[in-house]
Amino acid sequence: MKNKQIFLTIFSVLLGLVVGGIALAVSGYNPLEAYGIMIEGVFSRPRYISWTFIRSVPIILTGLSVAFAFRTGLFNIGAEGQYIVGAATAALAGYFLELPAGIHAVVVIIIAMVAAGVWGGIAGLLKSKFGVHEVISTIMLNWIALYLNNYIVFWDKFRRPQSEASQKILETAQISILGGLRTSGNEFIRGIFSTPVNLGIAFAVLAALFVWYTLNKTTLGYELRAVGYNRDASEYGGINVNRSIVISMVISGALAGLGGATQVLGVTKEISVLAAMEGNGFDGIAVALLGNTTPLGSVLAGLLFGGLKYGGPKIQPALGAPSEVIDIMIGSIVFFTAMPNFIKVIAHKLKKKRGEAE
């Protein structure tokens, strides 16, 4: 059962790579060369590996957010907006609060998660109280979050003059790790830490553990899953369905918000005007789906997509090949994961062929 799932996932990824390769080949680029560049672009230097992790963290967290909601029967398209709210709140709290180093970061993360949790919770509340489908409410909330972000950036007390960005967060709120290692004698370590590598990846792993533990080992998880699968039976069993929906969206939102917060505290140190959705939430959906909505799956899928997103664009300066092939690949991978039946048919055909050949 489990092995089968893993097989299907790996097969989907391979098919996605094949589709991407075909797209490159048809447009006159050597797919092998392109993939070579991507792989080199991710693995050839310690620094690149760091960057891949940095790129993965936000989408792992939004992926966990989406996966968590999914497991409780909710489709959170709003991870995008919750991420934005988390980021914006983190930037505000990182700049305006004055607290000792370390404590500051912790407080900021908590505030950001609460804010994003509330943002997710709104969708939960709308669903439980008014029956508004979460897909539509979260789409609306995404846009509201985007404009809210821009509003915050443009707030005169917060906007950094001469820019479309906010003030930088204070040093005390940053979560970069081991700055000293940047000047380490060991080249590998120096490479790894020459990037804004930060505690984000640790948070992502912790979040994955949290999701796994909560869903599978706690009564809360039991309640949330029960409600996700069958509201009527849960109600009958004495579970407060409305409360569960809200809690689930709050947790989901907080996870996405953590993504936004780590990005601000660890990488960008600021927020800036968003002209359009950055897509972290949508990538999170892809991550969650490829990861079969499991925590471990989301981490792995997040790393894969993070690698694609970091290493992929390198084919552009190197080959002049359109880096959008990455989106085509991600789309294909998600497409194939959507239809396990297709893969079963192919696998069956292959098996049969092999059988005939023997």
């Binding site: 706690t218 039991y222 309640e223 029960a226 699968y229 069958n230 109600e235 009958y236 004495g238």
Partner: protein, 513 residues
């Protein structure tokens, strides 16, 4: 019914085998239907009856065997071909599009059009009126299907078949959802149909109906053909024996028992339904320890709202529910369960089980947050699986695997899981709503035994059922519900179906207003 003309075979199914994956649902089944005949198809749950009929109707392609309709062999499986050949089917779960009007449902698939594909409802209505006239089937054509009663919906299904010119009609468990009155009407309709030369195949678990309607009966067991018998020549017991392959005990074994003190008291309850209409209207009732109180009534007289109100799933507008002297009116389901009221819900898949949960997880649905299943919000996996395994063994749930998902269980086994859970709650009052709906005789036997056991342990059982047989056989007292009120309480020994049916239809009730 004796309208059969044995010289004309309208259906011949020979040696039908149908596999789902590696599972053989049908294994060499034969069936012959003659013109004007009513032919019953009998078998346990999962025996393959529906599958066989789906093959006949072209919904499934058989892996082996042949189907002849009026002497012509069917070459490919497709409902349109069956329809064209005059085969109609009324499915167990009605195949009606609820938001559509009756006439839209009737014409769907064979719509009259005016050109450019524009619907011509008027001519469809005319045609439908003719059919209704001819067979004495009355329905309102412009109403939406979701707004009409189940009995009416069945008529729509019949009209649908006739509208397509069917002269062979298959009924899959047609009476399972009907009231006694509606069943009687249905039998008349069948009579009329055969009278007009239609041939009928009918699937039912109710042996009495077979006796009442059918000329012949084919019995299948676990996908295998067992026998075809002339109904007039066999008894109900013989039929049942052939069906399950052993002897079946119809009577519910029950010792005499004195009822004890009052444990549940309903005082003047009023409950509304989703459309804000009062469905329970000033209902009062007392339930004692050590008795099974049956509530007889036609579907839609407030039973569902009554149960939901008592169990905290629906608001009680006025009145009181008193359990063991404690007022539990409008408490949360959790509190009510805690107070000692358990419920085998009417719709097991909707309310009773989380189909995507394992058996073990379903077993603790009401107690997941209590010790030993959890402590401080952390689940105790071992305690849960031990508990589940005990119940699985005790109630003979198959498969005996706590990791199996509820959706993988058959209906009977799903019901066992629920009963195991509810009974183990050790409630003072157990509400059993339609506990045997859709189950075969073997499974029904088990459920009834469980209810009686509760009673014998001095618990109170409130049995709500549309099956008069069941109510009569199992209950110690019977309360008849009509229009949201209890209109009479009778002793099962002093009454019969006729009297009950009369009361259930509101006979003898004089509205105060």
């Amino acid at each position: 019914m004796n309208n059969a003309d044995y010289s004309q075979k309208v259906i011949e199914m020979k040696n039908i085998t149908k596999k789902f994956g590696s599972f053989k649902a049908l294994d060499g089944v034969n069936l012959t239907l003659h013109k004007g005949e009513v032919h019953a198809l009998l078998g346990e749950n999962g025996a393959g009856k529906t599958t066989l009929m789906n093959v006949l109707y072209g919904l499934y392609a058989a892996n082996e065997g042949e189907v002849y309709v009026k002497g012509e062999k069917l070459t490919s499986a497709n409902p349109s071909i069956a329809i064209e050949k005059g085969v109609g089917m009324v499915h167990q779960h009605f195949m009606l599009v609820e938001p559509f009007t009756v006439v839209e449902n009737i014409m769907l698939g064979t719509e009259s059009v005016k050109g450019l594909g524009v619907l011509d409802s008027e001519s469809a209505k005319e045609k439908a009126e003719e059919i209704m006239e001819k067979y004495g089937l009355k329905v309102k054509l412009d109403e939406k299907v979701e707004d009409i009663s189940v009995g009416m919906q069945q008529r729509v299904e019949i009209i649908k078949a006739l509208y397509r010119g069917a002269d062979i009609i298959i009924f899959d468990e047609p009476t399972a959802v009907l009231t006694p009155q509606e069943i009687e009407d249905f039998i008349k309709i069948v009579e009329e149909l055969t009278h007009q030369g239609k041939s009928i195949i009918i699937i039912t678990h109710k042996l009495r109906e077979i006796k009442a309607m059918a000329d012949n009966c084919t019995i299948i067991r676990r996908g295998k053909y067992i026998d075809t018998v002339k109904v007039s020549e066999v008894s109900e017991e013989e039929l049942a024996g052939k069906m399950v392959g052993r002897e079946v005990n119809f009577d519910v074994e029950k010792k005499e028992k004195e009822a004890g003190e009052v444990v549940l008291k309903l005082e003047n309850l009023t409950v509304k339904d989703n459309r804000n209409i009062e469905k329970v209207r000033g209902l009062s009732l007392e339930l004692r320890r050590g008795e099974i109180l049956g509530i007889a009534g036609v579907d839609g007289n407030g039973q569902s709202q009554l149960i939901e109100g008592m169990t905290g799933l629906r608001k009680i507008e006025s009145g009181k529910v008193i359990l063991n002297g404690v007022d539990i009116t409008n408490r949360s389901p959790k509190e009510i369960i805690g107070a000692g009221l358990s419920n085998i819900p009417e719709d097991r898949q909707k309310r009773g089980l989380v189909m995507d949960f394992k058996i073990s997880e379903n077993m603790i649905l009401e107690n997941y947050n209590k010790e030993p299943f959890s402590k401080k919000g952390k689940l105790n996996k071992k305690a849960i699986s031990d508990f589940a395994n005990t119940l699985i063994a005790k109630f003979d749930v198959r498969p005996a695997n706590e990791e199996a998902y509820a959706k993988e269980l058959s209906g009977g086994n799903q019901q066992k899981v629920i009963i195991a859970r509810e009974v183990t709650n050790n409630p003072d009052v157990l509400i059993a709503a339609q506990p045997t709906r859709g189950l075969d005789v073997g499974a029904i036997e088990f459920v009834h035994k469980s209810l009686v056991e509760q009673r014998d342990q001095d618990k109170a059982v409130l049995l709500i059922s549309f099956e008069l047989d069941e109510v009569l056989n199992v209950s110690d007292r019977i309360a008849v519900i009509y229009d949201g009120k209890i209109v009479g309480i009778v002793n099962p020994k002093d009454t019969d179906e006729k009297e009950l049916g009369y009361m259930m239809a509101g006979g003898g009730v004089h509205d105060e207003e």
